[in-house]
């Protein structure tokens, strides 16, 4: 069933009314060389039955492996109530409600989501979400350029310890808009960004510094020192954070003397299943003074003519339906359904429950690092405090080891060889609250076995 309300008759009548021969003629304004022809790479449409079968087969290939991979998407327990509520008809929409009079429930939910994100990140204002964590960072970079009016350079410092996929998306989205990104090295001992690496930029016109906490290696950056240094040097601070970690880590609004300026990240850890990589959602919060530079939908609370509280989209003059090409963003949207899941997830867990999740993640990751670090041929890359991930350095190529582990039903981690070749044979591992002590033991034994057999071979 096509989800288009117009019948063939409707379309014919409308075309006749404006004197256009066919629908194609409505696009003749676009030069022929810019038009997309038929998409050869796209196979013919499948029926619901066929697609159901295909996806079941694909899921079976994934199997039920024991998962130790994180690298930006994290396996957390999602209480059954979350998606039972999200899939109710009243919530089951990905779209933002423009009609406040018909959408108070959805608007209130988005408002609660914004309140939760503002509270978790320690910032004054939140938007109603963005596509995902990577595009949220790209939007944050563009926003920093708009917000920091004294800086003309459009140069942004990005540590190499920021998720490489995020750095790629940053370049893809914002590079074309003349933003320049300078890569900061990480300290080989601690796996974090040091103040020493920043010194050469002192006195230069730099728009913003990006700080990811925990960073891509799972290590905790010295966010207070980095934030204060950037502010003293006249830069804004863009924080990229894992929201699940904020129940135990200091919120970005409290980093250093005055806090980060823009906070963004991937919302998937809050009640969204891994689902082969998406859909997820991004989030963004900021100081009140920068709220007009924020992209995306914002829901506000107000009162109606009778003085009764109600909710509505607000500050819409930032957005493309009003400001067209000068909108704060023309490539963002709100991920309504996933935000609904996150809001219900956070409501069910509460601050205490989320702190328990975060603390258990840290505990399990510490146990995992201790167990795997003892395996001959394996050492832990960096020393220092970490959240729920760690880089291991193997004495042989990572790919073969992961293949051997996969054959034993274990997803052993993320191979960082391509993105960080100077580390040799780096493997990023993760343990969340869903891994048990037994799971960790199973992994450690399997890894020892694989390393030994491969060594013997």
């Amino acid at each position: 069933m096509p989800f288009i309300p117009h019948t063939a008759d409707d379309i014919r009548d409308m075309l006749a009314a404006i004197g256009a021969p066919d629908t194609e003629a409505l696009f003749d304004e676009i030069p022929a060389r810019l038009r997309a022809r038929a998409l050869d790479g796209i196979p013919p449409a499948l029926s619901e039955m066929e697609i159901g079968r295909l996806m079941t087969e694909r899921a079976a290939v994934d199997g039920q492996r024991l998962n130790f991979i994180g690298a930006g998407a994290y396996e957390h327990h999602v209480p059954a109530a979350v998606w039972a509520i999200v899939t109710r008809g009243e919530f089951y929409s990905a779209y933002t409600p423009y009609q406040a009079e018909a959408s108070q429930g959805t608007l209130q939910l988005l408002y609660e989501f914004q309140s939760m994100m503002a509270s978790l990140t320690g910032m004054a204002a939140s938007n109603a979400s963005l596509y995902d964590g990577a595009t949220a960072l790209a939007e944050a970079a563009l926003m920093a350029v708009r917000a920091h009016r004294k800086s003309k350079s459009q140069r942004i410092l990005v540590p190499k310890a920021v998720n490489p996929s995020y750095r790629n998306v940053l370049q893809a989205v914002a590079g074309g808009q003349k933003l320049a990104f300078e890569t900061l090295p990480y300290d080989p001992a601690g796996g974090t960004t040091t103040l020493a690496s920043l010194e050469k930029y002192r006195g230069q016109d730099i728009t913003a510094l990006v700080i990811q906490q925990p960073n891509f290696f799972g290590m905790l950056e010295d966010v207070d020192a980095l934030t204060d240094w950037a502010h003293e040097a006249g830069m804004l601070v863009i924080a990229v954070v894992n929201p699940a970690s904020l129940a135990v880590l200091k919120p970005p609004g409290e980093w250093g003397a005055t806090g980060a300026d823009i906070v963004c990240g991937e919302g998937q850890p809050l009640g969204v299943p891994l689902s082969s990589g998406g859909p997820y959602f991004g989030f963004m919060t900021t100081r009140l003074e920068f709220v007009r530079q924020m992209p995306g939908r914002i829901v506000g609370r107000t009162v109606d003519l009778d003085g009764k509280p109600g909710f509505t989209l607000t500050l819409q003059a930032r957005e493309q339906h009003i400001r067209r090409s000068k909108a704060t963003s023309n490539i963002c949207t709100n991920q309504g359904l996933l935000v609904t899941a996150a809001t219900i997830y956070l409501s069910l867990l509460g601050p205490h429950g989320l702190a328990q999740v975060a603390a258990t993640c840290m505990q399990r990751a510490a146990e995992l690092v201790a167990a795997l670090g003892k395996v001959p041929g394996v050492r832990v890359a960096f020393a220092g405090p970490r959240f729920h991930e760690a880089v291991l350095l193997l004495d042989r190529p990572v790919h073969g080891v992961l293949e051997a582990l996969a054959a034993r039903g274990i997803v052993g981690g993320c191979d960082l060889t391509r993105d960080y070749p100077s580390l040799g044979h780096p493997l990023l591992v993760c343990a969340t609250e869903t891994r048990t002590v037994q799971d960790i033991d199973t992994y450690a034994r399997a890894l020892a076995d694989v390393m030994q057999s491969a060594a013997a071979a």
Binding site: R149, K150, R292, A317, I322, R323, K326
Partner: protein, 131 residues
Amino acid sequence: MSNVPADLRFLKSHEWARLEADGTITVGISDHAQQALGDLVFVEAPEAGRRVAAGEACAVVESVKAASDVYSPVSGEVVAGNADLGGQPELINQEPYGAGWIMRIRPDDKAQFAALLDAKAYEAALAAETH
């Protein structure tokens, strides 16, 4: 009927400009523009020191109904943005030609000011727009 002071110059896009004794030019939006926009809720005035070209969008006025760019009537350097508008955008509604000024520009060439619409020409432009 909107107020069009005889001593000011105007742009068709509804900015006004006044040549001050020190040679700078004060810029705001006309009484007609503020009436059309309705209650202003936010103004983004340019930073002092910014170079602007005649016709360049260099400020934004946002009302409950719309957001509009404000164009510079002349080329030159911004010497001041009206900081009071940050907390009181309604000054533009209350005194569009006084406390609601948006920016002051030191023009590169005063002849650009002389070439702007005078009050009579702006009134004619307004009449043409409404009829």
